[in-house]
């Protein structure tokens, strides 16, 4: 189907067009959100919020960017928003724990296991995701879009609304920071 016609149908509120959009993008949205949020149930909730936002604001979509770029933008923004809220609530939970409340589950969540990782890489991937979680929000988004969703630099710069050189720099810093924190981890392990 022609993308312009498809967008027009969506803007008219066609239910079949919306269903087709969800069927086409649900895996991309879920995978992106899951890699940022690092919890399957929360990722499903956020993915649903992404599609609700798409449904509500498709009327404002002017077609300046590709539909997939716009959807990735909403997905990464929602996921980061959720990630920030979670971080803030963790901080609050830490404070409440000082006064004797039991927040063990909140403070020590199980290591995230991405379901798409090859069996032989599971343990290493767990460790990697733990370190990805320590990156800054922008670095995390750029790294996820590049290494998990497989987007090229141009697509990432469109999604993040940054220049190509900024994306390159973000990815370089993300990889450097990952190697640095992993090195600290292995130095403590081996020595």
């Amino acid at each position: 189907m022609d993308e312009k016609q498809f967008i027009t149908d969506l803007q008219k509120g066609s239910q079949s067009a919306f269903r087709h959009l969800v069927d086409t993008f649900q895996n991309k949205v879920f995978n992106t959100v899951l890699s940022i949020v690092q919890n399957a149930e929360e990722a499903e909730d956020v993915s649903q919020e992404v599609f609700i936002e798409i449904f509500e604001s498709v009327g404002k979509f002017k077609g300046e960017a590709k539909l997939s770029t716009w959807i990735y933008r909403i997905a990464t923004n929602k996921a980061i928003e959720h990630h920030r809220r979670k971080k803030a609530s963790k901080r609050f939970a830490f404070l409440t724990s000082l006064f004797g409340e039991n927040d063990e589950i909140v403070h020590h969540p199980a290591d995230f296991e991405h379901p798409g990782i090859l069996l032989e890489n599971k343990e290493r991937a767990k460790l990697l995701f733990k370190h990805i979680n320590q990156l800054t929000d922008n670095q995390k988004v750029a790294f996820t879009l590049c290494n998990i969703e497989g987007l090229n630099y141009q697509e990432i710069s469109d999604v993040m609304q940054l220049s190509m050189s900024s994306v390159e720099s973000l990815l370089f810093r993300a990889k450097t920071n990952l190697r640095k924190t992993l090195k600290e981890f292995y130095v403590n392990q081996i020595i």
Binding site: R19, V22, D23, Q26, N27, K28, F30, N31, L34, S35, A40, A43, E44, S47, Q48, F51, I52, F55, H114, P115, G116, I117, L118, N121, R124, A125, L127, L128, N147, I148, K175, L178, R179, L182, K183, Y186, V187, I190, I191
Partner: protein
């Protein structure tokens, strides 16, 4: 030196752990659950469509005070009316000739 090489090897392998990974998929019937959520949020939005000034605490409290005052007024008025009830009842009986029935019995 050997440790350094080992550390670098471990880092390379860990960074490469994402190679060959597949895309994660949501649980089955994602669209059905999404539709249900959209229905709920749509309902909530319908209930939220009230003019802004009506959501202000000053308006809400004034409105509640007015309702209470009206209730108090109604209660006071009714309690005054009940005093004159016997009078009304006798005039009603007279009008419809109910007293004659009593005297016949």
């Amino acid at each position: 030196m050997k440790n350094q090489e080992e550390i670098e090897r471990q880092i390379d392998e860990t960074v490469g752990a994402l190679e060959g990974m597949e895309r994660a998929e949501p649980r089955s019937f994602f669209y059905t659950r999404l539709e249900a959520k959209m229905d709920i949020s749509g309902m909530q939005q319908r209930y939220l469509i009230i003019p802004k000034f009506m959501a202000r605490p000053t308006f809400v409290w004034s409105f509640l005070a007015l309702v209470v005052l009206l209730n108090v007024g109604v209660v006071l008025r009714f309690s005054q009316k009940t005093v004159s009830e016997p009078q009304n009842a006798s005039s009603f009986a007279k009008e419809y000739g109910l007293n004659t029935l009593d005297s016949n019995l």
